[in-house]
Symmetry: C2
Subunit: 427 residues, 2 copies
């Protein structure tokens, strides 16, 4: 395809007319498609349904420590699951807290605790103008937690190796900078895995704030799409080497291993942080749902079981990513109006369209029956300064729907680009 | 039995020797008994185990609204469970939020929200010296939440009809008094059900603080021990009549209906409060474990199902209460050294021993292998000013163990009383 940027005004007008016709044709089909959230599809959820046969009258309710998982207690989770998450996160089981169905909930509660009780220092709510570093584009729900608590967000652009460490090193000289969000493997939405150098540099940070915390959301720890997958360096080990063991709190879950709404979440941290988190939890709850933990413990005996299971997920997800990537390649390649990532894992394709066009693309898609993540959602306060970033979530729709959705997306990208270029008086 | 208070010193010395021998005999048996927490027993948990057959491949995962309960979403819970809790709490389903496995967690989060974001007014953490009214004796975990957040607790003695409303009416003239804990039916630990007059008076309160909240923990809403059971007046209706609809937030759960660690919790409140709570939740989580909600929805179609189920619980619990009550009656009646309640529901027997003896009784029991709730736990900051209140939880041990435990308890009560009286020089 010829570059839009190299077309004459007449060529572009003629292209716009063709794109407009195609857009109207697709719109007339009255689709109802959704690529807005990283939700696993039905076929993926069907994979784990044997889990429900593993806890019941015939199998019993006791774990390996003879705890009756139906009753109260067990604040920090079952031994078996501590061991499993220990293998997933490569950190001692003693440093793991296994919780309920939501790692987001654990992150929110961790920040809430820091606000009212601090992280070893003065409560954050008693200090003025707390700030967080937010690598961008990033995960909207992380940013929303900061917004809820009035934590000022400082966006830092990602490089292909992870967030810009030089920038971060400057920012942390300000002691009101208290933390940083990271999705270090197959990042949401770019699919970046932080390089060893970036992980080492982050672990070696010397923030002015002694209670600075890296919230390390390793949501996609085992979510590889290909056998040849990214490797993430263990940040906790690196932090220990740097005398920074309290600086990182790690989160993960089985939401995209078993069930999005009924998985098991976990957090891992230094002994001091774990004690601090458990202290709050001892006031907050008597304990998590241990029966759901037991289901997971019986279903996954070890990391190998998880890895085998994730290969089946990958076999379902790969074709979905391919449909979108092939359509992008086929429809947009060479047009110089979009760039996109080809992730090796995770749940998203990151699409950058022409500056100033992302909102328009999302709007055009919506009008044609395709819901995308809101433009700007991948930036703090919903403000993408270049209005160019769009997060594509290909997991939930069927392959047939995806093929249709990808066509709608591509034509919307072209429509918005042509419209924008044509409105430029100098063109 | 002759009153200890009417014995001569010699009579009491001789009684003490006999009690001491009996205590040493029981101690030598090396028991390991626990009446410390209101935990349902194995036999009770066995009642609901069919629930695990109700969600799985053969039964499907969709609720009545065709929501696949395995996936993300559904912030405030399934329609079916809103309807069920609506019947239990007699409040519109629209005003109910159905959550995870812990109503305590909902209470903690509600107070946490009030601290950082307020309840319609300024965040509580920005106001100095927040105070809560705490009817005593009461539930230690309620008091612990206040202690965690630095909320000053003001104890108010319960009458047989509920907390002392005249005292409360005075206290709420102070606008730093922001709330009040209540267990209004079969209260923990006294088993009191608030009279209609008390409920009406509470609902009609006009606190100086516009953001005053009654946290109404209706934990034992359907937990009757006898067919002839207590009736609790609907406080929400009364609040509405008084233009006070935002003043109460109601909590309950199935922890003592199905499973302590894997039940479903709910909260109910005015539309404005529900909106406020859901606003926070929308940042905190994507949604609760809907599969566990679905299990409960399929197991309990309506309130009648719950009531039938609770009759079976009662048939298991009644004999346990009776064993303890009979032993108390047999061993202590007439001795003038203890008073106890005969509750018609709930999970506890409240025992008041001679002033200054509760800690000693708990210690003596512990030394003889019986764990009781810590003396003082039923009061804010763990301080029972008269050191006389002991909470007895008869649900968890077997009947055989209970018979033994009740003997140990009674002999400890007598031991501590005799010891105390003998140490009194004027005796």
């Amino acid at each position: 395809m010829k570059s839009y940027l190299q077309m004459s005004r007449d060529e572009l007008l003629s292209e716009f007319k063709a794109v407009d016709r195609e857009y109207e044709r697709l719109k007339a089909l009255g689709c109802a498609l959704d690529m807005s959230r990283g939700k696993p599809g039905f076929d993926q959820m069907d994979l784990s349904c044997e889990i429900f046969d593993l806890v019941g009258n015939s199998t019993g309710f006791k774990n390996e420590n003879s705890i009756d998982c139906r009753n109260y207690g067990g604040l920090d989770g079952l031994t078996e699951l501590k061991n499993l998450f220990s293998q997933i996160l490569d950190i001692s089981p003693k440093q793991i807290i296994v919780g309920g169905n939501s790692s987001l909930n654990m992150m929110f509660d961790t920040v809430a605790q820091a606000m009212t009780h601090g992280m070893g220092g003065e409560p954050w709510c008693k200090q003025n103008d707390i700030k967080f570093i937010c690598p961008v584009p990033g995960y909207d729900r992380h940013f929303a937690i900061c917004e809820y608590f009035g934590i000022k967000m400082i966006p830092v652009e990602n490089t292909p190796d992870g967030p810009d460490v030089a920038k971060i090193t400057e920012l942390i000289k300000d002691e009101s900078v208290k933390g940083m969000w990271c999705v270090p493997k197959y990042s949401n939405p770019e699919g970046i895995t932080y390089s060893d150098e970036v992980v080492k540099a982050l672990a070696a940070l010397k923030p002015a704030a002694k209670d600075f915390r890296i919230l390390w959301d390793n949501a996609y720890a085992v979510h590889d799409l290909y056998d040849e997958h990214d490797e993430l360096l263990d940040i906790y080990d690196e932090c220990v080497k740097n005398g920074n063991e309290d600086m990182v709190i790690i989160f993960t879950s089985t939401s995209k291993i078993t069930f999005p709404g009924a998985g098991v979440a976990a957090e891992a941290a230094s002994p001091a942080n774990v004690a601090r988190l458990k202290h709050r939890m001892s006031y907050q709850t008597i304990g998590p749902d241990k029966l759901n933990q037991l289901r997971h413990a019986r279903y996954f005996k070890n990391l190998d079981d998880v890895k085998k299971h994730m290969k089946v997920h990958a076999s379902i997800l790969r074709p979905k990513f391919d449909i979108v990537l092939n359509e992008l390649e086929h429809d947009l390649s060479g047009a110089d109006i979009a760039e996109w990532t080809k992730p090796r894992g995770g749940y998203f394709i990151n699409l950058n369209v022409l500056d100033g066009c992302a909102k328009r693309v999302v709007e055009l898609c919506k009008d044609a029956g395709l819901v995308l993540t809101g433009a700007g959602a991948t930036y703090p306060y919903g403000i993408d300064p270049k209005d160019r970033n769009i997060r594509i979530a290909p997991s939930y729709p069927s392959c047939e729907e995806l093929a249709q959705a990808a066509k709608v997306l591509c034509v919307a990208v072209k429509y918005a680009a042509a419209e924008k270029l044509l409105s430029d008086k100098s063109f």
